[in-house]
């Protein structure tokens, strides 16, 4: 646990080094949520649907940041040139990624706070059952951990994976029904969405927003999440082994 805490602490110290990032994290959510909410209002949707869009965005922004923070997390270490030094220590790559996740979660609390403040500014009070929402958000984060590991594996092998991240992030968002229910997707895409753990996470959130319980979606969220996690873990192991065999630990 000590290595994870030490690395997560480093993440926070780096925020101190780049204070303008904090300003950006506070302002950028407004730029993202505004178009969706304005469109929702322009077309005369009721307050419930606006709330639903808002929650989808909140959850999605949270998960996107987590996906990037962990999946592309080693980028910062590569740019610093310290990946190789870190790998010479008795910590595994998954340990590094868990620390990244912890640092991102802490950062996300700040971003979520900023985002909620923007929602208030847009006149959306977000009357959510917050404890259940936070628990589901964390579970959904765990549900996409397989994708984070797979992205990290690609990063170890190819060093730059922004395109893959954008592709995974956009596809996950569209197919799991972030801004519209997945049942409205064409049937082939709907079938794909059924294979994504996040679809079930978002549906659960929508259900609790409508005053219901989390319902039967928790099972597929956890089960599929576990399958993706195991696949991602395997990819990461293979990637790390190939990187150590190729001698590219010091490259970026």
């Amino acid at each position: 646990m000590r290595p994870i805490l030490a690395l997560a602490h480093k993440e926070l110290l780096y925020l101190r080094a780049y204070p303008l990032d904090l300003v950006s994290y506070a302002i950028s959510p407004a730029l993202i949520v505004a178009p969706y909410l304005l469109v929702a209002r322009l077309f005369g949707f009721d307050a419930g649907l606006v709330d639903s869009v808002a929650v989808g965005l909140l959850l999605w922004y949270w998960l996107s940041t987590l996906l990037g923070g962990v999946g592309l997390g080693l980028e910062e270490e590569m740019e610093e040139g310290v990946v190789e030094t870190l790998l010479a220590h008795p910590i595994s790559v998954p340990t590094l990624l868990v620390a990244k996740a912890l640092g991102t979660v802490i950062l996300n609390l700040y971003i979520t706070g900023a985002m909620v403040a923007w929602f208030f500014a847009f006149g959306i009070p977000l009357l959510l059952p917050w404890p259940a929402f936070i628990a589901l958000a964390l579970l959904a984060g765990a549900g996409i951990s397989g994708f984070m590991l797979a992205l990290a594996a690609l990063m170890l092998l190819y060093k730059r994976t922004f395109f893959t991240y954008d592709l995974v992030q956009a596809s996950l968002g569209a197919l799991s029904g972030v801004t519209m229910p997945a049942r409205l997707l064409p049937r082939p895409l709907w079938i794909v969405s059924r294979a994504l753990p996040l679809s079930y996470g978002i549906e659960s959130v929508r259900r609790i927003l409508a005053g219901g319980g989390v319902g039967p979606d928790i099972g597929p969220l956890v089960g599929l999440g576990l399958v993706y996690f195991l696949v991602g873990r395997k990819l990461l192991t293979v990637a790390e082994r190939r990187m150590r065999a190729a001698g590219t630990t010091g490259e970026f």
Binding site: R2, A6, L7, V82, E84, R244, A246, T249
Partner: protein, 324 residues
């Protein structure tokens, strides 16, 4: 402490051939079956030219690189099967300056890497203070590493590697790019470690460093170990010696194997191995030859290294295989 048995490494690289064409696939044999035993408390220098295989060998011992064949043990632990355990035994300072987080202070870096070695915070803080004292950076504990000079960063990197009191320290060209003062500062730290009995494996291509620090020297070339011994032994075995160049006021009467070169204006120069210098000086004095200058040139090890590894541009090591 370190044992390598028949360690070999082949890199596979593909040459670039424009945007779309696939280039030639090439295999480069970086190490050819290295056998090596390093005992506790030895300070071993690994001397070789660029591309000789020094860093590859160090990285294999440090578990950063997987060998193509062979076995490596550190303190009796198999480095290929139990790399994490081995990493607890090692302090590693890789080449280059970017082995630290530059935005963090010296103390923050040490505490971070102490945490990675699972040191309790309080113990890490005490140890960090000791190490900053050892490397002469105590007064800079709270200064960002980005403000440090190259030499300070190197010393801090050494302190970072020692945070968990590792029995073995691995250093890859620790003084490359440093000015003489920076080099001397790093050497001072390394000498202290040598006196303490820390086991050190250090790659270098700095002859002075190789001559002055290690208690044992390995010369590596083309992925093979060519020589093993103290710097003095290797120099003596290769037949190379430190030379003294004398500038004289008249032609001396010397043995035929010594070349006397006429400089003009009645001055002559003469090069002689330093072990023959006292006898020659006595004779010159007896003959009344005016001695204008004595200069000691080229370390003996320098000459020995060139003799063992060939002159610059002599060869491209016979280690590459091309495939279409």
């Amino acid at each position: 402490m370190i044992s390598c048995s028949r360690v070999a490494k082949t890199y596979v690289v593909r040459e670039r051939a424009g945007l779309f064409r696939r280039g030639v696939r090439r295999e480069i044999d970086a190490l050819h079956g290295i056998d090596l035993e390093i005992g506790q408390g030895e300070f071993v220098g690994l001397l070789g030219r660029n591309g000789a295989g020094k860093t590859t060998l160090l990285k294999i011992v440090a578990t950063l690189l997987l060998p193509t064949a062979g076995e490596v043990e550190v303190d009796g632990i198999d480095a290929l099967r139990e790399p994490t355990k081995v990493r607890r035994k090692l302090g590693v300072v890789l080449a280059g300056e970017r082995t630290l987080y530059w935005k963090l202070t010296a103390m923050e870096n040490l505490l971070l890497f102490g945490g990675l070695q699972d040191l309790p915070r309080r113990e890490a803080r005490t140890r960090s203070a000791e190490l900053l004292q050892l490397v002469g950076l105590f007064g800079f504990a709270d200064v960002s590493v980005e403000k440090f000079s190259s030499g300070m960063r190197k010393r801090l990197a050494i302190a970072r590697a020692l945070i968990h009191r590792p029995p073995v320290l691995i250093l890859d060209e620790p003084t490359t790019g440093l000015d003489p003062h920076g080099v001397e500062e790093v050497w001072e730290v390394l000498r202290a470690l040598r006196e303490e009995g820390t086991t050190v494996l250090m790659a270098t291509h700095n002859m002075l460093e190789a001559e002055r620090l290690p208690t044992r020297l390995l010369i590596i070339e083309g992925g093979r170990l060519l020589a093993d011994g103290t710097p003095q032994e290797i120099t003596a075995r290769s037949g190379a010696q430190r030379m003294a160049v004398l500038t004289l006021g008249s032609r001396p009467n010397v043995e035929k194997d010594l070349l006397v070169h006429e400089l003009g204006d009645g001055m002559y120069s003469l090069a002689i191995p330093v072990d023959r210098l006292p006898a020659l000086l006595a004779r010159l004095q007896a003959e009344g030859v005016y001695l204008a200058n004595v200069e000691i040139v080229q370390s003996g090890l320098w000459e020995a290294f060139l003799r063992l590894t060939g002159r610059p541009f002599d060869t491209l090591p016979d280690t590459q295989r091309d495939e279409e």
